[in-house]
């Protein structure tokens, strides 16, 4: 078979772009947080330098091979997720492998990373880490329901599970799914809050009670890899939501605008909110978001 070099190019540079955008978003978040707290805040490149610093740590410790591989799992999951999400609509370069997979596949590959992380954290032997994982998994069970309800509603409505078809169907502004089935969007975005893990759903990495939970034994390059994968993963998730609800993006400008708009929702919620206990957050997800999701499905059915 002949190789489509454009594809290869896309595959090579998409992670880089994702990384840059994700890191920048991270910096911006810190600035915005600072401004809301009436501070000046760090430079926008702060996260980038943090990551570089972590990579440039001279020594690192590990408790075993699983901990060594955990960040690798994480970043693998992020990059794979990214590859199976069409970044730019109808472009050869940036719809990397999105024709080979579909939504349900994405739902599952997104878990891959957290599973690997959980294994590594487990081997690190730090009880705080295990507690964090247990909280995280419980919370995941919480927000999975509304999210799946929303996704199911959309799949039934548009009779496809492939993202590219979804994007193609929302070719113009008023066909965006956010307008077509707003309840699905509500449910999904509320679940998205949980996914991003900002307050009030940051019980997983609550630094004050369980010493930042899962990553508490990770330092140096491991932490660096984790932060990298987090930035990429953030971008991937944002793009996914953009594709599903906001009709994808034709070029990078719209992409950035849409993703940033989406990104601000969890960030701004996070800044002004305290922290839920685990059972509280699970209960929360099973209350209104689920209702919205069921509404979305019912509306589609009728």
């Amino acid at each position: 078979m002949e190789i489509n070099w454009l594809k290869v190019l896309g595959i090579l540079i998409t992670p880089v772009i994702a990384f840059i955008v994700g890191v920048t978003y991270g910096g911006l978040t810190r600035i915005i947080t600072a401004r809301i707290q009436n501070r000046f805040g760090p430079p926008v490149t702060q996260n980038f330098w943090d990551i570089v610093k972590l990579y440039s740590k001279k020594t690192n410790i590990q408790h075993g091979v699983m901990q060594h591989l955990a960040p690798v799992f994480a970043i693998t999951a992020s990059i794979t997720t990214l590859y199976f999400v069409p970044v730019i609509r109808e472009s050869t370069v940036f719809t990397n492998l999105s024709f080979q997979g579909d939504l349900i596949f994405l739902l599952y590959i997104m878990v891959f990373g957290s599973l690997g992380m959980a294994l590594g954290v487990g081997q690190s032997g730090n009880p705080n880490g295990a507690i964090g994982v247990s909280r995280g998994l419980s919370q995941m069970v919480g927000y999975e329901i509304p999210f799946v309800l929303a996704i199911v509603a959309i799949m039934i409505q548009f009779k496809t599970t492939n993202l590219n078809d979804l994007i193609a169907m929302q070719n113009n502004f008023n066909h965006w799914i956010i307008f077509q089935s707003p309840f699905a969007f509500l449910a999904a975005i509320l679940a998205f809050l949980g996914m991003m893990g900002y307050a009030p759903f940051d019980v997983v990495v609550a630094p004050a009670e369980i010493a930042s939970g899962p990553p508490s034994e990770f330092g140096g390059k491991y932490l660096g890899l984790m932060m990298t994968s987090r930035s990429i993963f953030t971008f991937a998730k944002l793009t996914l939501f953009t594709d599903i609800f906001l009709g994808g993006a034709g070029d990078f400008v719209t992409l950035v605008i849409k993703t940033f708009a989406l990104y601000m929702i969890p960030v701004l919620t996070g800044i002004v909110n305290p922290r839920f206990r685990t059972e509280q957050s699970i209960r929360f997800f099973w209350a209104w978001p689920t209702v919205f999701g069921i509404l979305a499905v019912l509306i589609v059915v009728w």
Partner: protein, 616 residues
């Protein structure tokens, strides 16, 4: 050799021979069993596919045996898993008492399963069903005194199941006049509504007991926990599949001819989904590894039942695919747990931890196992789950798919709990001189692990026999390529691409972070962790193993209180009590007995008009 009778005779006779060998020359007992099992695997593989291979008349019933594609699928599961289990048993069972008994019951249950999958009439199916039941019962009570109550429960529930099948057979026989599948499938449509309903319900009930479908599952956790792990693999991997086998036949060959078929489908699908849900919840809060796995298999069987009940080609494909996969991965996990038990002597997850560096191969097996169960790509569990979801969505079972998805997400909880508590976490002082299990035990586990990988990358290999089996169940066709799965809307997922992407990225990053010279990493023990400056002492247990999911438990609240098991136990107690009172009818007092006689006479005389219609 490659005749059905050959397979039966080999299996049962070698069961007896193993028993005798144990009492004469125990040295060659194990190898004998292993060799025989290998031969049987070959025979089952070579057995020609023909509807009527062996038929004879026994007690004025025609007994017919044949090898259909559908039966062949299950027969292969049984044979291969049996081979692995018996390979594993050689070292695992060494030095345990009553080994002859063990091997005999083992072979008998295997033979019973062969009989079930090959039988072409209900009589022989029931015959072998009962053989399977009592031989597996013998293995449940095999271990010790505490197993007896559990075994009794298992037997009683199996008896309830078997007898409901029997009743269905009676009804069928009285209205059709023959019990051969051919006649039954042909004649069932012509029966009257009520007997149709009765038969379908009874059959589903009967088979549902073996496939541990709620609310008939209560025997499963105890029985799976107490049996020796090398047989638990069969128990959960193959023996429970007999229920699935029967449910498949009932649904597509019998119930599909009736008017209430859609209702049966809906109800059964929901039963399966709820089974999956609640079983998952119980698994999350189990503290014994084997109990956890038992509940997990109940849940997985719930998926399978749902898939069968939906009845679209894709869902059936998913169900059968999951059937095979469940046999594989639950076999792996039970064998791995058995390995842990073999070395540490317990399967209590709050007692063992940090075995990864001691038993790397076992850990690898368990890892592949949980990844497969959780359905995370690229391993094979994903393909089955994917097909199941797609089929559910495309047959417009919106809320069903949510329930299924929810329970399979909750599955992550117990899977992580399983692997964390046993293999990860703090390395305990008690287990510091634990070694890896012998090779004969490793090989089956690793081969099964390899199978999950292969079928994950190329599900087509497995979908080929599955689709053949579907042809037998009805004109169901499913489109697939060696590595590509399609749903009914034409969307696809290419497992090969997925596997390649994950593999390439993973390897590259691994190389980058592990190359020599880049930022040296040093290994520190699991005691050397951040404890706010404190120095943990040697015998200080830092593992977080008890009440692992307390928050989740709080969130669920009183959902977990509901337990059908309590109801059953109460019923049993009450019945026994009443029987205990009833036996005092026999006072042991002559006068009383005499009085009974007189009473009987007088009653007959006085109520003669009632009884005989004649006034005296």
């Amino acid at each position: 050799m490659f005749s059905i009778s050959g397979i039966f005779i080999t299996t049962f006779v070698s069961g007896l021979v193993a028993f005798l060998l144990h009492h004469s020359v125990p040295k060659i007992r194990d190898w004998f069993s292993i060799v025989i099992m290998g031969v049987i695997v070959y025979a089952v593989w070579e057995l020609p596919v023909k509807a009527n291979l062996l038929s004879f008349k026994l007690a004025n019933y025609n007994l017919v045996f044949g090898n259909t594609e559908y039966g062949r699928l299950f027969a292969l599961i049984v044979a291969v898993l049996g081979f692995f289990a018996i390979l594993y048993s050689k070292d695992f069972m060494e030095g345990k008492p009553r080994l002859g008994y063990f091997y005999m019951a083992f072979f008998f249950s295997i033979g019973g399963m062969f009989g079930i999958v090959y039988s072409q009439d209900l009589i022989s199916l029931f015959f072998f069903w009962e053989i399977m039941t009592w031989s597996s019962f013998l293995l449940v009570i095999y271990c010790c005194k505490e197993a007896q109550k559990i075994g009794l429960k298992y037997f009683v529930f199996s008896a309830i199941g078997a007898y409901s099948i029997m009743t269905a057979m009676v009804v069928l026989y009285s209205s059709i006049g023959s019990l051969q599948f051919a006649d039954v499938f042909a004649g069932f449509g012509k029966m009257d509504f009520w007997s149709q309903l009765l038969v379908v319900v009874l059959l589903l009930m009967g088979f549902g007991v073996k496939s541990a479908t709620m609310p008939l599952h209560v025997w499963a956790p105890g029985a799976y926990r107490i049996t020796p792990s090398s047989f638990t693999a069969i128990f959960s991997g193959a023996l429970s599949k007999m229920g699935i086998f029967g449910i498949g036949l009932t649904l597509f060959k019998i119930a599909s001819a009736t008017g209430f078929y859609p209702w049966v489908q809906e109800i059964l699908a929901w039963i399966g989904a709820l089974t999956a849900l609640f079983a998952t919840f119980y698994a999350v809060f189990a503290t014994d590894a084997k109990t956890l796995l038992a509940y997990s298999s109940i849940g997985q069987l719930g998926y399978i039942v749902t898939g069968l009940a939906i009845g679209t080609p894709l869902s059936i494909a998913a169900a059968l695919f999951l059937t095979v996969m469940h046999a594989i991965f639950k076999g792996m996990l039970f064998l791995a747990t058995g390995a842990v038990y073999y070395r540490t002597g317990t399967t209590d997850m709050t007692k063992v931890s940090g075995l990864i560096r001691k038993m790397p191969y076992t850990f690898l097996t368990a890892l592949f196992g949980i990844i497969t169960v959780s359905g995370v790509p690229p391993l094979a569990g994903f393909s089955g789950k994917w097909m199941l979801y797609e089929s559910l969505i495309q047959s417009n079972h919106y809320f069903l798919v949510v329930v299924i998805f929810f329970s399979s997400t909750a599955a992550f909880l117990y899977l992580y709990r399983y692997i964390f508590s046993l293999f990860l976490g703090q390395e305990e002082k008690e287990t510091e001189n634990v070694k890896e299990v012998p090779w004969l035990m490793r090989i089956p586990m690793l081969l099964l692990a390899l199978a999950t990988l292969v079928f994950g990358v190329a599900p087509g290999l497995l979908l080929h026999p599955v689709s053949a089996a579907m042809k037998y169940l009805g004109d169901f066709g499913v489109t697939y390529q060696t590595s590509v799965l399609f749903n009914e809307w034409g969307n696809k997922v290419d497992m090969l691409t997925v596997a390649n992407t994950i593999g390439v990225v993973f390897i590259i990053v691994t190389i980058i972070i592990t190359i020599k010279g880049y930022r040296s990493t040093r290994y520190v023990t699991t005691k050397d962790i951040h404890t706010s400056g404190e120095v943990p002492t040697e015998n200080e247990n830092l593992t977080y193993a008890v009440d692992f999911y307390k928050p989740f438990e709080r969130a669920l609240g009183s959902v977990l209180k509901a337990s059908v098991d309590k109801i059953y136990n109460a019923t049993g107690r009450i019945l026994e009590q009443s029987f205990d009172y009833l036996r005092y009818v026999y006072t042991g007092n002559g006068q009383t007995y005499a009085m009974y006689v007189v009473l009987f006479l007088t009653i007959l005389v006085v109520f003669s008009e009632l009884i005989f219609g004649i006034k005296l």
